[in-house]
Amino acid sequence: MTTPTTDAPAVREEVLEAVGLTKHFPVSRRLGSLLTRTRPTVHAVDDVHLTLRRGQVTALVGESGSGKSTVARLLAQLYPRTAGTVRLHGEPVTVRGGRPFRAYARRVQLIFQDPFASLNPVHTVRYHLTRALRIHGNAGRTAADLDAALAKLLERVSLTPAERYLDKFPHELSGGQRQRVAIARALGADPDVLLADEPVSMLDVSIRLGVLNLLRDLKERLHLAILYITHDIASARYFADETLVMYAGRLVEGGGSETVTQSPAHPYTRLLIDSAPDPDRITGDAVAAGRERGDGEPPSLIRPPAGCRFHPRCPAAMPRCTTDLPPRLEVGDRPDHWAACWLYDPATVAAAREVNR
C-alpha cells in the first residue's frame, strides 16, 4: 500500500459535486408564532460547496448537530434540498425516488454508522449481498455467476474464505465484520462514490483502523471517491486527502488534511484540535490551558447568529464578525487552503502587518 496521501493532491476527475447545498427543516409552529408570516426552520445545512474526486477521500469533520450527516443524506438524494445543485459527473441531478433514484444509487452508495442496525437481523449475509447485486444488475445470469460475484465481494472486504461468512446471520458476526458486510453491500452496486457516515465510530478501537485501511485500499483499487464523515479529526488526518470542517451548518475551513490539522486557520478548527485527546499532554496543565478558548455550546440553528456563526464563542471575534458573513478566504501560501473567517481578509491581514511594523 502506498503511504498516506500527499498534501497537494493532483487534480483528479470530479465525480460528485455540491454547489450551494442548503437544507432547512420546518419546525412545528408554536402558538406565539401563529400570527407571524414566517415559518420557523432549522438551518441544518447552508451553502455547502464540496467536490468529491475519483480516487480521493474527503473528510467532513464537525461536532454532532453540525449538519454533516444531513450533507451525506442530501448527496445521497434521500432528502429533497431546499436550494443548491448536486452534479454527478458534471450533470445536475435531482431524483425523488423510483427508477431515477435507483440509477443514482447505482453510482452513489451510503454506508451508515451502526452496522448493528443497518443489517437486517433475520437475513443472512448471502441475502443482503444478493439483493444488492440483483437490484443493481450485477448478479449475472446464472447461479454460478452469482456465487462468483458474492465471493468477489467478500474477498474485496477481506472476509475470506467467503463460504465461512455467506450463510451467517448478522448476530454471528463481530462489529467489524458486520461493517465489512455493509461495505460489501455498498460495493455490490459497483458505485463511483461512497458516502461513509461515521463508518467506524461504533466499532471497537482496536478494529477501527482495520476498517479504515480497508476503505483506503478500496479507494486505491477501485478508484472510488469517498466522503468520510467523522467527529474525530485525528482519523481525518490519518485517512483523508482533503479535510473540510463544518460548524453549525456551514463549512468553515478546508484544505489538504495535513495542512488543516497541522496549521489550522479558523478559530473553531483550532478549538477542535486543542480539545482532541492527546496523550503527549500528560495530566493537568492542558486542562487549564484549554479554559480560555471558546467555551460554550453550538448555537441554536432555528435562529442562527448573524454574521459568522462561531462569533459568540470565538476568542478573536471582531465587530464585523457579528454582522457580516465571512466568505471563503485564502489562507497562507498553501494551495487550496481556505477559511471562512474575517481574520484572513486581505484588508485585515494588511492592517495587522502595518501594526507589527
Binding site: M1, T3, P4, E63, S64, S174, G175, G176, Q177, D204, V205, S206, I207, R208, L209, G210, N213, H231, D232, I233, A234, S235, R237, Y238, F239, E258, T261, Q262, L271, L272, I273, D274, S275, A276, P277, D278, P279, D280, R281, I282, T283, G284, A286, V287, A288, G290, R291, G294, D295, E297
Partner: protein, 335 residues
C-alpha cells in the same frame, strides 16, 4: 502512595448459573487509592462495565457475583465488605460513599421531573433531617460547582443541552460528597469540545473535594491524559496495570501496545497504523491460555496453553503489573 479507599480482591462475575454461565469478570484484583483517578480501559465486552456494576452491587439479573470481595475503607471506622452489606446498610452506603455516573448519563435523568426535584430527592433520602430551604441552597451550590447557573434548577432535562445534563449528573453524583465516584463512559456521547470542558471541571473538583475516581472508557488516549494510573482489561481479566505516563511510554502487554497504536495521532509524523488483527474474544468460547493469544503478534509456546497471572514484571518497575508470558517474572509469581 496514599492509603487505599476501595480494594477489589479476586472478584468474579458471571451471567447465568451452572455450566451455561458466561464468566464476564474473572479474578480481578484492583485497588483504588484515596483521591486518585484510576482509568479502566478495554474494548466492549471486556467486562469493564460489569466490574463497575458488580462492585456497587447494581448488577441486574442474570448477573451473579460468584466470588471475591470488595473492601471499602471509610475515612474513619473499620473497613466494610460491600458484598456482604445488608440491604438497609447498602442503601446508606450507596451514593453517600460511592456514587456512579452512568453510561449515557444524558438519558438517566427523569424527563418528567425538574432538575431541582431530582437533586433534592437525593439529599432528602440520605439526610432526612434537613429543611427544604437548606436542601435547596445545597442544590444551588452543587449546580454552581459544575458550572451551571443556579436559575437552571427549575428546568426540565429536555431544556438542557447534552453537556449540561451530563454536568447535572455529575453534580448529583457529588451531592453527598462520596469518597469514590465511578464514571462509566461519562463523555462518550459528547463532542470533544464538551468532553474536554467536563473533564477539566472534574479534575478541578477532585483537587478541591478529594474524591477518588474510577474512570471507565474505551478511549485510552483520553485516559493517558486524565488519569493517574491505568488498568487494561481484556476478556474479563486485567492484563496490565501501570502509572499512566509509564504505560504510554512503555507498554508491556502486547494488547496495550496494540491499543496505543490504534489511535491516529494529531501531531508528529504520520505513520501507517494497523490496529489489532482479529476480533475481541467471545466470552462464551474463550481461548485457552492467555485470552489474547489468537490476536497476539508475539504469541509463543506457553501462551495457548497456560494462563499468565497478573504480577510485577521485574525489579526495575515498581507499581506496575502485567499478565503476559513475555514477562515471566510476573507470570510465575502470583501476588
Amino acid at each position: 502512595m496514599s492509603e487505599p479507599v476501595l480494594e477489589i480482591r479476586k472478584l468474579c462475575v458471571d451471567y447465568g448459573l451452572g455450566d451455561e454461565a458466561v464468566h464476564a469478570v474473572r479474578d480481578v484484583d484492583l485497588t483504588l487509592h484515596r483521591g486518585e483517578v484510576l482509568g479502566l480501559a478495554g474494548e466492549s465486552g471486556s467486562g469493564k462495565s460489569t466490574l463497575a456494576y458488580g462492585l456497587t452491587r447494581l448488577l441486574p439479573p442474570p448477573g451473579v457475583i460468584s466470588g471475591g470481595e470488595v473492601i471499602y475503607h471509610p475515612v474513619d471506622g473499620p473497613p466494610v465488605d460491600v458484598l456482604s452489606l445488608s440491604p438497609a446498610r447498602l442503601r446508606d452506603f450507596r451514593w453517600a460513599e460511592t456514587s456512579i455516573v452512568f453510561q449515557g448519563a444524558m438519558n438517566s435523568l427523569n424527563p418528567v421531573h425538574k432538575v431541582s426535584t431530582q437533586l433534592l430527592d437525593v439529599i432528602r433520602a440520605h439526610e432526612p433531617g434537613t429543611t427544604r430551604a437548606a436542601r435547596l441552597a445545597r442544590a444551588r451550590d452543587l449546580l454552581r460547582l459544575v458550572g451551571i447557573a443556579a436559575d437552571r434548577l427549575d428546568s426540565y432535562p429536555h431544556q438542557l443541552s447534552g453537556g449540561m445534563r451530563q454536568r447535572v449528573m455529575i453534580a448529583m453524583a457529588l451531592a453527598l460528597e462520596p469518597q469514590v465516584v465511578i464514571m462509566d463512559e461519562p463523555t462518550t456521547a459528547l463532542d470533544v469540545v464538551m468532553q474536554r470542558q467536563i473533564l477539566g471541571q472534574l479534575a478541578e473538583l477532585r483537587e478541591r473535594l478529594g474524591f477518588a475516581v474510577l474512570f471507565i472508557t474505551h478511549d485510552l488516549s483520553l485516559l493517558v491524559e486524565f488519569s493517574d494510573r491505568i488498568a487494561i482489561m481484556y476478556g474479563g481479566r486485567i492484563v496490565e496495570e501501570a502509572p499512566a505516563g509509564e504505560l504510554y511510554r512503555r507498554a508491556l502487554h502486547p494488547y496495550t501496545d496494540g491499543l496505543l497504536h490504534s489511535f491516529p495521532a494529531l501531531r508528529g509524523p504520520r505513520r501507517e497504523l494497523t490496529g489489532i488483527p482479529g476480533s475481541p474474544p467471545d466470552l462464551r468460547a474463550m481461548p485457552t491460555g492467555c485470552a489474547f493469544h489468537p490476536r497476539c503478534p508475539r504469541a509463543f509456546t506457553p501462551c495457548d496453553a497456560e494462563l499468565p497471572l497478573l504480577g510485577p514484571p521485574g525489579d526495575d518497575d515498581p507499581g506496575r503489573a502485567v499478565a503476559c508470558w513475555l514477562h515471566p517474572a510476573a507470570a510465575a509469581v502470583p501476588r
